[in-house]
Structure formats: structure tokens, C-alpha cells
């Protein structure tokens, strides 16, 4: 398993895909934070929390990163030599999940560090001043990093389940931006348990009926375990084209 994990980490480092997604995630979180503070109103605790809790928005990028990584194996045929070298598909899929989880974690740490490095001084200098306590900042930082890691792993799960890369990406986008938005219109309490709802709350989001931070982490983890478990089982049973 260690060898397979190292193999996946080499794969991540030797194409531009991970770098591109990582850079995009950092820039998006930075832009979201700066714009929220400089253009929006940050005169109460909830708005200041929202301004720094952009990792929920960035999660979709990391979700796509995971999808591209997993479904890309089938698109480029790289899954064939991978499985010829290591025929245990369960181990191969788990190694990829762990590698992408680690990559998501790393991107989350960098993105949150950059966003905090610029956002916190901006809040300190705002008219209201910083209302967020150190505990709030820790919660947002830890939640944002975990959210990034979970999103990348969930993406791997979706990409392993739906091997066609284009269909997998479209499915994720429709799920995030259409189905869960419709669900939110029908029942915001139910939508809070959805993928975007739980990841957003884990990252520190404060929307209507947002789950408490700890519960959001559990629900997000449950989504990751369910999708990744389904991916592992499905991958083991299907033929490789």
C-alpha cells in the first residue's frame, strides 16, 4: 500500500493538473476573501465569518480535481498499466483516495494560510475591527482544510464511479449548482445535509440552517465514505476498457 501511495504521489507531481487546480483554488479563496472584506459589509460576526470561510466555495474546484484524477485514468488509459502492475483494485483505489486527500489537505493549508495572511489584517483594519475570536479563526482554518481534503476525496469517488470524465464533471456541477439549490428552495434544513451544504458549513459557512461545525464534519465525512466505498466496490467488479 505504501508503494501504491508513493506511486500516486509521483503521478500528482509529474503532470500540471494538480498544480493548476491547486493554484486556482488558492487564488479563488484569496479573491473571495479580499472581495468580501473590501467590497462587502463586514460589520458583524456572521459576515466576518463568511468573509474568511470561502473554502466551501473552493471545494467544488477540489471536487473537480479529484474527478479529473480518477476518471482521467480511464480517459487516458493509464488505469491499464496501473492495474497490470498492481491488480488489487481495492488497494489502487484506496491509494488514490489517500493521495488526493493529502493533496487536498496541502492545498487547503496553503489556501487558508494565504487567505488568513491577507484577510485577517484587512479585518483588523476595517471600521468595525476584527470581531472573530481566535477560536473562530481556528475553527474556520481547520474546517477549511478538512473541507478541501474531503472534497478532493469525494471527487475521486465520483470519478471512479462515473468513469467518463465529461459526464462525471457535468454530474458534479449539476449536483452542486442545480439539484442542491433546488433542494435548498424546497427545504433548507434538508439541503444543509447535502454535499455543498455540509462542506460549506464545515468550512465555516453561516447560511440559513447551516449545520454546526462538528456535525457538518461528520456529514461531510459520511458523504466521502459513502461515495468512496461505492467507488471501491464498483471499481472492483467492473471490466477495464
Amino acid at each position: 500500500m505504501t508503494r501504491l501511495l508513493r506511486c500516486e504521489l509521483i503521478k500528482l507531481r509529474t503532470t500540471r493538473t494538480a498544480l493548476g487546480f491547486g493554484a486556482a483554488a488558492v487564488l479563488l479563496l484569496l479573491a473571495s476573501t479580499v472581495l468580501s472584506i473590501t467590497v462587502g459589509d463586514v460589520d458583524d460576526l456572521a459576515s466576518q465569518r463568511s468573509a474568511l470561510a470561502g473554502a466551501g466555495t473552493v471545494a467544488i474546484l477540489l471536487l473537480l480535481f479529484g474527478i479529473v484524477g480518477a476518471a482521467g485514468e480511464h480517459r487516458h488509459g493509464t488505469i491499464i498499466p496501473a492495474l497490470l502492475i498492481a491488480p488489487d483494485r481495492v488497494k489502487v483505489t484506496i491509494a488514490k483516495l489517500l493521495a488526493y486527500g493529502a493533496a487536498g489537505l496541502a492545498v487547503g493549508v496553503i489556501a487558508q494560510a494565504v487567505a488568513f495572511a491577507i484577510g485577517v489584517p484587512l479585518l483588523n483594519d476595517s471600521d468595525t475591527g476584527r470581531l472573530l475570536s481566535t477560536n473562530d479563526l481556528v475553527e474556520i482554518a481547520v474546517g477549511g482544510v478538512l473541507c478541501a481534503a474531503l472534497a478532493a476525496m469525494i471527487g475521486v469517488g465520483i470519478g471512479a464511479l462515473i468513469r467518463n470524465q465529461t459526464i462525471a464533471v457535468i454530474t458534479a456541477l449539476v449536483w452542486f449548482f442545480v439539484l442542491e439549490q433546488i433542494l435548498s428552495g424546497v427545504s433548507s434544513e434538508l439541503a444543509a445535509y447535502g454535499l455543498s451544504g455540509s462542506l460549506g458549513a464545515l468550512a465555516g459557512g453561516t447560511g440559513e440552517n447551516a449545520l454546526p461545525w462538528g456535525l457538518a464534519g461528520l456529514v461531510g465525512t459520511a458523504w466521502a465514505l459513502t461515495l468512496c466505498g461505492a467507488a471501491v466496490l464498483a471499481d472492483n467488479a467492473r471490466d477495464i476498457e
Binding site: R3, C7, I10, H76, I80, A82, L84, I85, P87, I240
Partner: protein, 329 residues
């Protein structure tokens, strides 16, 4: 794993001077292998055995089920029935498959944005091979100079060679190569032929698929021919070569063709006339034709032998192209 293979594992860096015992040490056994895709029967009750140390051509027209069979042999597809064993165990149960079997399927399996060296490096890492093996495999397929270029910029021939480098990575005793000559130019085909000869000379067991018999005829020891997912012939290549000489036909031209035809029929030959008025004669030797013509004082303008080609024999074995309802993906 056999003693010979254990020695291979210990000596993976010896590939350029590799020597493997032949005989039956490393074999592939396919028994009753069947694969259905819905209503489509891609492979039907296919059984054959690949001798250790021999180069075996796995032949059949496009859509005959060759790739589907190899995918099942390599554990990438589940058989509907039957089984395929490598050294007595299914591929997916091999402890260190890359050190036992090297395989190259139709697609190169390399990410276009990754260099060949990194492609091999990650695979070597996955199976615990030293990085020196990456350089040896690159050298074996003449790709060292282009190893740091992205695979997306490679020609088809270079991609095929990279796929062969992947197959050689673990210095395996068995190679399974699916249509390695597809898309190669004449130089590439010459290179591949030399490559296969080198692999054979090193004593490896090679199973190489192709839809063109002539492509592999000079290299293989045995052939397994399938058509519409079923076995139609298995045996030494020499058997097929013997068939071509057995079916020799003589082309005879004479200004008095009708008279000569009558004399040849009397001598026991079978004669028909082609569109140009030449006689096509079977059942008698060229010497008999010459003697008959001489004794009857009939002039001869041409006497030549036309053997059935290997492709003729191949087409006789495999019949017309597959119908869509039996062709596999």
C-alpha cells in the same frame, strides 16, 4: 514462481544479457474462456496453451476477440465462463505480476502530460523496482534520448515502444503484446521484428497478437488462430507454411493452350484457364509439365509456380469478416 523466475527477480538489472531457460517453465493456459457482452458473444469456449520459451502468434481478423481474450488473461475483464492461468494461477492472484508478466495492450496507457521517464518511474515505484530498471527499459526500446519529453508529443511508434518499455520494466519471463505493430511505419515494423527476435533469443515466452499473419510469421514458433471468438487453429507455424507449398499451382502459357491442356489432363493434372488464356495446373509437377509439352512438341512461353501465401491460408482458416452479432469490442 519457478526457480528461473526467482533468479529473474533477483537479477532484474540483467535484462540486456538475460538468459531464461525455455521448455515449459512459464506458460499461459486458457481453458473454456467465454465472454459475453449482453447479446454479443465476443469469446466462445476458447482453449489454448502457450509453451514456455516459445513465441506464439495470437492471430485473428479484427473483431475476432483477441483483445478481449488478452484482457481476460490479464485480469482486466472477468470471463463469463472458463479461466485463464499464468504459471498456474489467475493473473490477479500473482504476487508480483510485473516480474512475471509484462503486457502491452493497444493503448499506450501513458498520460500525455507526463514524460516517459516519469511514467515508468511511477510504475516502478508501485511494484518496488529500482530506478535503474527504468533506465534499462528505456534503453531496451531506444527511448532514452526522448525520455524527458511529454508523451503527448510522441509519434505512434514512440508510444508503442513506450508500451513495450512498460512491459519490460519488471524483466518478466512472459510477454503479452496486443497488436504491437498497429500503426507502425516500415522502419517501426522492422524494429519490432528485431525486438521480438531479441526477446525470443533471451528465452522469454511471448504471446503476440496480430491481425496480419505475415507480420509475425518470421518471428513466431507457434500460432493460435481465432475467428469470431472461437479457436480455428493451433500449432507450430511450420504447419501453416507447409500448407502453402502443398497448395502450389502452376501457371502455364502456350500458343496451343487447348492441346496442352488436354495432354496435361491425360497426364493426371487438373487444368483450368484464367482470364488471360493461361493454364492454371495442379496435381502435376513442373517437370511433368515440361516433359509432356516436349513429347507432344507443344511450345511453352511460361511455366511458373504460384504458392498459396500465408495470408491465403490465414483467410481460409478465419473465413469471411466477422458479423456484427458475433464480434467483440
Amino acid at each position: 514462481m519457478t526457480g528461473a523466475d526467482e533468479a529473474n527477480v533477483g537479477g532484474v538489472a540483467r535484462m540486456p544479457n538475460r538468459a531464461i531457460a525455455g521448455g515449459d517453465a512459464a506458460t499461459i493456459e486458457v481453458d473454456g474462456l467465454t465472454k459475453r457482452f449482453g447479446d454479443v458473444q465476443a469469446v466462445a469456449d476458447l482453449s489454448f496453451r502457450v509453451r514456455g520459451g516459445a513465441v506464439t502468434g495470437f492471430l485473428g481478423p479484427n473483431g475476432a476477440g483477441k483483445t478481449t481474450t488478452l484482457r481476460m488473461v490479464l485480469g482486466l475483464a472477468r470471463p463469463t465462463a472458463g479461466h485463464a492461468l499464468i504459471e498456474g494461477v489467475p493473473y490477479r492472484r500473482l504476487e508480483q505480476p510485473a516480474r512475471v508478466v509484462g503486457a502491452s495492450l493497444e493503448r499506450s496507457g501513458a498520460h500525455p502530460g507526463r514524460s516517459a521517464r516519469n511514467h515508468l518511474r511511477q510504475l516502478a515505484t508501485a511494484t518496488g523496482l529500482p530506478s535503474s530498471r527504468v533506465e534499462e527499459a528505456l534503453a531496451a526500446v531506444d527511448l532514452t534520448g526522448a525520455a524527458d519529453r511529454r508523451v503527448g508529443g510522441y509519434s505512434l511508434g514512440m508510444r508503442q515502444r513506450l508500451a513495450l518499455a512498460v512491459a519490460l520494466l519488471g524483466d518478466p519471463a512472459i510477454l503479452v503484446l496486443d497488436e504491437p505493430a498497429n500503426g507502425l511505419d516500415p522502419q517501426g515494423i522492422r524494429w519490432l521484428r528485431d525486438f521480438l527476435r531479441t526477446m525470443a533469443a533471451e528465452g522469454r515466452t511471448v504471446l503476440v497478437s496480430s491481425h496480419v499473419l505475415a507480420e509475425v510469421a518470421q518471428t513466431v514458433d507457434d500460432v493460435v488462430v481465432i475467428s469470431r471468438g472461437r479457436l480455428v487453429h493451433q500449432g507450430p507455424i511450420q504447419e501453416l507454411i507447409n500448407r502453402t507449398s502443398g497448395d502450389a499451382e502452376l501457371r502455364v502459357r502456350s500458343p496451343r493452350g487447348e492441346a496442352l491442356a488436354a495432354e496435361l489432363r491425360r497426364a493426371g493434372g487438373s487444368v483450368r484457364v484464367d482470364g488471360e488464356g493461361s493454364l492454371l495446373v495442379t496435381g502435376v509437377s513442373p517437370e511433368i509439365v515440361g516433359e509432356v509439352a516436349c513429347s507432344a512438341a507443344l511450345p511453352l512461353y511460361e511455366l511458373s509456380e504460384r504458392s498459396a501465401s500465408l495470408e491465403d491460408v490465414f483467410l481460409q482458416l478465419t473465413g469471411p469478416p466477422s458479423h456484427p452479432d458475433v464480434a467483440g469490442p
